[in-house]
Each structure stands twice: as structure tokens, then as C-alpha cells.
Amino acid sequence: MLIDCPHCGARDLSEFSYQGDATRTRPDPASTDTKAWIDYVYNRPNPAGKHREYWQHAGGCRAHLVIERDTLNHEIRSVALARRDYNGGDAA
């Protein structure tokens, strides 16, 4: 699998570290809603098909990326930097 890092270009899977589901929203840091925290920490959509997920280019620029990838065939549809302000505001 090759991932097209916006900073570094297309690089091999072995340079990246998978950081999991990118659809969950972290509750407000001060929130005391345990259910919301449980949902955030433990529950995931885990779809068969299009999956939105974080990867870190650990063996490269170390940026976190938001990737849309098909879990049925590993085809990558889009790659963007996780930090929105680095993307000109069009992703993440």
C-alpha cells in the first residue's frame, strides 16, 4: 500500500503508523458525561467500505493525516493533513 503524504509524496505503508478511526469527536475536556466519554474512547463505526481514519507519517514528516480508505480493498480515496489550518481549510 502506498500513501500519498501531502508533505512527502507517495510513500510505503511501512513508514506510516495507523491511528484509527477519525469520525469520533472528543467530548469537551471538562465534560462529566461518562457516556459521551465511553462512546469516544470505546465505540467505533468499523465500516466495511469507506473508512475515515488517521495515520501518522511516523517514518517521515510525522504529520497526522486524515485518509479515506476502503476497508474492503484498501483503496485510498483521499489524503489530507489532520491539522485543518495546514490544508487551506478544505479538509478534516
Binding site: L13, N43, R69
Partner: protein, 419 residues
């Protein structure tokens, strides 16, 4: 249907093997069952068998999307062990071990459970202490465990690099003598045949496309072979858990599906007797009765339903096996394959009633579903039949995450890929 035995083999040999009957029937689904088990893998088939054998519930259908045993029961590295650290796990897997020890007789099917031992190698004083802690936990839980010195390890497993100059020198090893390997497909077929003999309908090529409901309550399933109603619907679909639950309206769940690759070398004359695991990485290896070295390592580390992995993992696993057994470098990899693992948030399974009325759930097996097959089926059948958990699966609830009672063998926390 005939009992399998040396005598029946002989009798059939004389009649040219023409009189053997199908190992199980191929029935059409009935409109109604007491229990539907979704998933014709090891756990689903075992559940159906124990429902019939232990609880007398025989009006049961097992629905399988493909062919029986097509999931992880036929894609694993066949290791059976109960060498766990936490008391909940020790109790559960040791129950399983006891069922394994009599399984061939119970099923009248040789599942080839061979108690050749599982040896975990330790490579630093800290790791040795951690393994001894686990071994002692096993002993206190009534499970066999022994500590081997590097010298004893060298005698037991020739070919290992036991020199002090190894990159990760071996400081000792935790041996569970009663652990071993079994013939994975035979487990599925044995349970299938035994369940079928007790009246369970095993229905292949029948995919569940939706759930029938009465309000909140699940009352049956829609399938590619029509609607089927049941008092209770039980799910044992491993890596497909999230996909099936989605059809019941549950969109998020504490499971991630990951691909795990497994490997086998060409067949060799006896080379290694017990199962060996390498502690300076993640690797497990044994030799099958056919002679192939069967081995595996870590996940590919990304969500996947593809049953195929990628090259970096192949390279990682092979470099670890070469570090452990430098002679294996010269031998050849014959086949690799991938399975989809249902990775849970603490590395332990979920066997429970719910999460909807009429629904029962069995999932979260991570790397270790094969060895659990008998206890999983046994306790799941108990839970379905009695509407309450058996003592061995009582801790393995879905609620444990809310309570903070994770059963975390590795201590990695809610990062499924690390369990």
C-alpha cells in the same frame, strides 16, 4: 449415521468407500426456530452443538454466508493454550482446555488436539519476571506452567539461538505442557457433524441481510434464503460483527476489524516439536502434522475486511522467525493468507446477552478465537439457554467498559490494534 472408528474405516474400505454418508445434511431453512445462530464458523457451530447437547435445544439453525468453517476457524495458526495472566482469562481458557482434552471423543471426530506444549521465550530479566508472574497466576488458577532455563530450552527446541550473544538473548521460557495445536478445519467439521446429528440445521450460502423486529425486540432475520423467525438470535460472526450489528441499527461498537496474516512453509520432516513464541517481537510458530512450519505475527495494523495483507508485515514476521531460528532462513515460505480479526478494546472477548432484546452476542476474539472455541460455544449456549451467563463468561460483558472493568491482558488500553 455411522460412528467414526477404526472399524468403520475398515468396513468401508472393503466396500470401496462408497457407503460414507455426508458429514452433515444440507437442509433448507424452516420458517421458525427456537434459536438462530448467525455464523457457521467454529464458535457458531460449537454454540449450536452445546445448545443441543447440553440444553436439549435442538430446534436450532446455524446460518452461514459462505461454506461452513470459512472464517477464522480455517485461517488460524491452530494454537490451543490457557497460559493467561488475569484470573478471568485463566478461568475461561482453562475451561476451554478441559473441553479440548476430551473433544475428539465428545464429537466422535478426531480434531487432532496434540498437547505438545507452548513455550514463550523471554529475552530480558524484566520480561522473564512478567512471564513468571503469568506462570504463577496460572499455577494459582490450577493450570500447568513451568519455567525453563536457557539450557533446558536448548535441549527441548534444537535450532534456537540460545547463545548469550544473540541480539535478544533468551533468558528463560514459560512452558505450558498441556497446551498445543489442533487441526483447525476438523474442529469446525466435528462440531458441525455432531450438531447436525442432534438435529441442528446447518444452512450454508445463507447471508443475513436484516433483522426482523417487534419494537425493540429481535424476532428473526431476513436472509438471502428468505425470512426466518426465532425466539432468540445469536451472533457469532467474529470480524463481521460490526457489519451485522449495523443491520440491527447499531452503528458503533467496541470492535475494530483488522487483517491478520498467517504463513506456512513447505513440509519438512519433524523439525520443532512444541509451539514456540518469540518474546523480542511478536511471533508464534509450530509444525503441523503434515510437516509445514505454521507461523504468524502481528496484525497488519489497519482496519480491513479484505482477508489479504501487505508486504511490510510479511517482512517483519519473517525477520523475526529468522532471528529466533537462524536455520529457517534457508527454508521456503509456501503460502500466506489473511483473516479478519474482531479486535476488542481490551483484547478480551464479549459473550453476553443483548445488546438488544432477543439478541445474544459473541465477539471480540482478537488473535485468540481458535483455542476459545469449545468454551466460547459452551458458555454462549449456556447464556442463550438460561438467559444468564455461565460463571466463566460472566466477566466478559459489554458493560465492562462502562464500569472500567476491562480485562486487559497486555495492558495496552483501548487501542485495539495493540492487543
Amino acid at each position: 449415521m455411522a460412528e467414526y472408528s477404526a472399524f468403520s474405516l475398515l468396513k468401508n474400505a472393503f466396500s470401496g468407500n462408497r457407503d460414507w454418508k455426508p458429514a452433515w445434511r444440507k437442509p433448507d431453512p424452516k420458517p421458525n426456530y427456537d434459536v438462530i445462530v448467525i455464523g457457521g464458523g467454529g464458535h457458531g457451530l460449537a454454540t449450536a452443538y452445546y445448545l443441543a447437547a447440553e440444553h436439549g435445544i435442538t430446534n436450532v439453525a446455524v446460518l452461514e454466508r459462505g461454506w461452513l468453517g470459512s472464517g477464522n476457524i480455517g485461517r488460524n495458526t491452530t494454537i490451543v493454550r490457557s497460559n493467561y495472566l488475569l484470573p478471568e482469562s485463566v478461568r475461561f481458557y482453562e475451561h476451554s482446555m478441559k473441553l479440548w482434552e476430551n473433544l475428539s471423543h465428545e464429537l466422535n471426530y478426531n480434531v487432532m488436539f496434540s498437547q505438545r506444549g507452548v513455550l514463550n521465550l523471554a529475552h530480558s530479566p524484566g520480561q522473564a519476571d512478567a512471564f513468571i508472574r503469568r506462570g504463577n497466576a496460572m499455577r494459582h488458577g490450577g493450570v500447568d506452567a513451568e519455567w525453563l532455563t536457557p539450557c533446558e530450552i536448548g535441549r527441548k527446541v534444537p535450532g534456537l539461538d540460545i547463545s548469550g550473544s544473540a541480539r535478544f538473548p533468551i533468558t528463560g521460557g514459560l512452558l505450558q505442557p498441556r497446551a498445543g495445536t489442533a487441526r483447525h478445519d476438523a474442529v469446525a467439521w466435528g462440531y458441525a457433524r455432531a450438531a447436525d446429528r442432534r438435529g441442528v440445521d446447518l444452512i450454508e450460502n445463507c447471508e443475513v441481510t436484516g433483522f426482523l423486529r417487534d419494537g425493540d425486540k429481535i424476532t428473526g432475520v431476513s436472509t438471502t434464503r428468505g425470512d426466518i423467525r426465532a425466539k432468540k438470535v445469536a451472533l457469532a460472526v467474529a470480524g463481521s460483527t460490526s457489519r451485522v450489528l449495523e443491520r440491527a441499527g447499531i452503528d458503533t461498537f467496541p470492535i475494530e476489524s483488522h487483517v491478520l496474516q498467517a504463513f506456512v512453509s513447505e513440509a519438512l520432516k519433524p523439525f520443532v516439536d512444541c509451539v514456540v513464541t518469540f518474546g523480542a517481537g511478536h511471533l508464534y510458530m509450530s509444525q503441523s502434522d503434515k510437516g509445514g512450519l505454521v507461523f504468524g505475527g502481528s496484525l497488519d495494523f489497519y482496519n480491513s475486511y479484505a482477508q489479504r495483507g501487505n508486504l511490510p508485515t510479511v517482512e517483519d514476521v519473517t525477520s523475526e522467525i529468522c532471528a529466533m531460528f537462524p536455520t529457517v532462513a534457508r527454508l521456503r515460505l509456501l503460502r500466506s493468507w489473511g483473516g479478519v480479526m474482531d479486535m476488542s478494546m481490551d483484547g478480551s472477548p464479549i459473550i453476553t446477552k443483548g445488546p438488544l432484546p432477543g439478541l445474544y452476542l459473541n465477539c471480540g476474539w482478537c488473535y485468540g478465537g481458535f483455542k476459545a472455541t469449545p468454551a466460547s460455544g459452551y458458555s454462549f449456549a449456556w447464556t442463550i439457554a438460561k438467559d444468564e451467563p455461565h460463571t466463566i463468561n460472566a466477566p466478559f460483558t459489554l458493560k465492562r467498559f462502562e464500569r472500567g472493568a476491562a480485562i486487559d491482558e497486555t495492558g495496552h488500553g483501548p487501542t485495539p490494534k495493540l492487543h
